[in-house]
């Protein structure tokens, strides 16, 4: 346990930090406006939702699961929050409604996977379709716009003229997640299930409950991300959340959380999110159309996984001559 905590700030996190700084230096050379406060604020603001969704997805990947429907959960929760605000609800009620709707959807997703015994990827692809239709139906073919600014006044207010207030909540969420993951039996069980499910079961871990809980945590955080989304943008468009899943999965994997489960790095997730947003923003600043963003993220994800695999086993020889 001690080694694991020490190992949680390791080479991977340092690599991400260095990569991010190098990228920023290159963009700064290429564009004079890159290091302006206005642009850096853009990066910080655009990272808000992904930091929260990524945190939840870290729990899902830690148990060896996956969820490609996270963006749609964010979207549905955002619609709920938006409608509450339009109906004149208190902003704090609306803010809490996000995580509640997210938790309910996360519980549903988890139940389908755990009790239906369906592979998580197939289940969440199906749910992605169902949730997307739900978003279309709930929006009724038009944007949700002109939302009151009451949530923005709370969460989009800038601390010291720069950092959005939502970062206080995000920091608290990461600290809470760290304590849960490293200091509670639940965290231990989570990693045990991801590491070797059968052995965890034999050791008396309530495997199904732990797996379900991971999806509930992820859904709740998607709902929290929706609260921040509304605070930031004050509208919900039809395509809400369509790139969230790829960005979040890439960030979590870049951060060193194993796609096979059993290993999680919260700091890595945060740095992975920031690196992705730094790159997306930088490429846009130097003139690459935003349509290229999924290409950049996808290549980053595959490159990170490939390097990890090649470094772990046989190196480039495997690529040239096949598996031994």
């Amino acid at each position: 346990m001690g080694a694991r905590i020490a190992g949680s700030i390791g080479g991977r996190e340092l690599t991400l930090l260095v990569a991010g700084l190098v990228a920023m230096a290159i963009f700064a050379v290429l564009s004079p406006v890159y290091l302006s406060a206005g642009n850096l604020y853009q990066v910080v603001r655009n990272s808000v939702e992904l930091l929260v969704v990524g945190l939840g997805l870290t729990f899902v990947l830690a148990i060896g699961g996956i969820d490609v429907s996270v963006g749609m959960v964010l979207g549905i929760a955002a619609i709920a929050i938006g409608n509450l605000l339009l109906a004149g609800a208190d902003p704090w009620v609306a803010a809490l409604a996000g995580p509640l709707v997210g938790a309910a959807l996360g519980a549903f997703t988890g139940a389908v996977i755990v009790f239906g015994r369906i592979p998580a990827i197939v289940a969440t692809i199906g749910l992605l379709g169902v949730y997307r239709t739900a978003i279309f139906a709930l929006l009724g073919g038009s944007w949700l716009s002109g939302l009151p600014s009451s949530l923005s006044d709370i969460f989009a207010a800038r601390i010291g003229g720069f950092l959005p207030a939502s970062y206080i909540v995000i920091l608290a969420a990461y600290l809470a997640a760290f304590v849960v993951l490293r200091r509670t039996p639940f965290g231990l069980h989570l990693l045990a299930v991801g590491n070797a499910e059968e052995r965890a079961r034999l050791a008396g871990v309530a495997v199904r409950r732990v797996r379900l809980a991971a999806y509930v945590v992820s859904g709740t955080l998607c709902g929290l991300a929706a609260t921040f989304y509304i605070a930031n943008y004050r509208n919900v468009e039809m395509t809400v959340g369509s790139t969230v899943a790829l960005d979040a999965i890439a960030a979590v994997v870049l951060g060193g959380t194993s796609i096979l489960g059993g290993r999680a790095s919260l700091l890595g997730t945060a740095l992975g999110v920031l690196l992705i947003r730094v790159l997306q923003n930088g490429f846009t600043i130097v003139g690459l159309p935003s349509l290229w963003q999924p290409v950049v993220t996808g290549v980053l994800l595959l490159a990170a996984l490939s390097l990890e695999r090649l470094a772990a086993s046989g190196g480039v020889r495997r690529l040239a001559f096949g598996a031994p």
Binding site: V112, I118, I121, G129, V130, Y131, T133, W292, V295
Partner: protein, 317 residues
């Protein structure tokens, strides 16, 4: 494996009953639905999904958590890249070969990621889905590429005895060939064997990685063929033509009786499932249900078939 045969047969019966129920429901609600042109319409729309779903089925069948989420991306990117090659001066005659070859190449990238670098199929093909689909959009800035040679258009829209050319010339032969290969050749038996139990297959000398690599190439080539059908049909290359095909092809493969764990199922069921899904979509359009409901209904269908799969006794409990 008598029990697996029973469950496959049972799944086929359930599928046919469901298919009949869908046709009957739309027919009762709107008798005009049951006109003879229905067959032509359904087959016209079915070809692309049928080709893609065949590739998906083979990959899932081969086991090892096999899945190809990038099929839609391959369809879009092969259509775009082969049209770009034409605009760059490639002879128009080569368009069919180009589309299929580019598809196979993109599939080969998946195959390398999965069998050589050993990235989990779901995450490798999720990555390539966004890379391929993103490239198709980025290279065209979202617009269509026109200039499909005129001689190709009849192939995309023509009928022989009410059946579209591409269904007769591509889909039926592809499924027949796949059924024959799976049932009567060593390659087919190897595919089932490795899907059923990869370790034993490896131990008896089946070259698991090579076959799996080939399956990903084949899935890519079939997606390339689907791209060709789209080019001939619409007369232009559309960068988002492959949208949602990962969901629909998975739904078709699993509805058609392919076990998600691999090693069991056949391709004829997949073809029936494709026809059923397309009939359902056509029917929904016929009764003026907005197309945005289609993706949700197919998604729900995918979940239902898997929950059903859970109720039918499995051979590997």
């Amino acid at each position: 494996m008598p029990r697996s045969t029973t469950s496959t047969a049972l799944k086929l019966v359930i599928l046919l009953v469901l298919f009949a129920a869908i046709v009957a429901a739309f027919g009762l609600y709107q008798p005009r639905f049951l006109q003879t042109s229905l067959v032509s319409t359904v087959l016209q729309f079915a070809s692309m999904l049928a080709l893609v779903a065949l590739g998906q089925a083979l990959i899932v069948l081969a086991g090892g958590a096999g899945i190809d989420l990038s099929v839609g991306g391959i369809v879009s990117l092969s259509a775009i890249l082969s049209m770009m090659a034409l605009q760059a001066g490639a002879p128009p005659v080569t368009l069919p070969v180009l589309a299929v070859a580019i598809g196979a190449l993109l599939g080969a990238v998946n195959g390398i990621l999965v069998t050589r670098i050993r990235i989990l199929p779901l995450i490798a093909t999720l990555g390539t889905l966004f890379v391929y689909g993103g490239l198709a959009m980025a290279l065209t800035a979202g617009g269509s590429l026109s200039g499909v040679p005129q001689w190709l258009v009849p192939f995309g829209r023509g009928l022989v005895g009410g059946v579209p050319y591409h269904f007769l010339a591509l889909v039926l032969p592809a499924y027949l060939a796949a059924a024959v290969i799976l049932t009567f050749t060593a390659w087919g038996r190897w595919l089932y064997a490795m899907g059923y139990n990869e370790r034993s297959a490896h131990l008896v000398g089946i070259r698991v990685d090579r076959i799996r690599f080939f399956a990903y190439c084949l899935s890519g080539a079939l997606s390339g063929l689907a791209a060709l059908v789209s080019l001939a049909w619409f007369g232009s290359g559309r960068p988002n033509i492959g949208l949602n095909l990962e969901l629909e092809s998975l739904a078709a493969a699993l509805l058609g009786g392919i076990a998600i764990t691999g090693g069991s199922g056949g391709v004829i069921g997949v073809l029936i499932a494709v026809l059923m899904i397309v009939t359902l979509k056509t029917g929904l359009q016929f009764v003026n249900v907005s197309t945005v409901w289609q993706v949700g209904i197919v998604g729900a269908l995918l979940l239902l078939v898997l929950l059903l799969d859970f109720l039918i006794p499995r051979r590997r409990a």
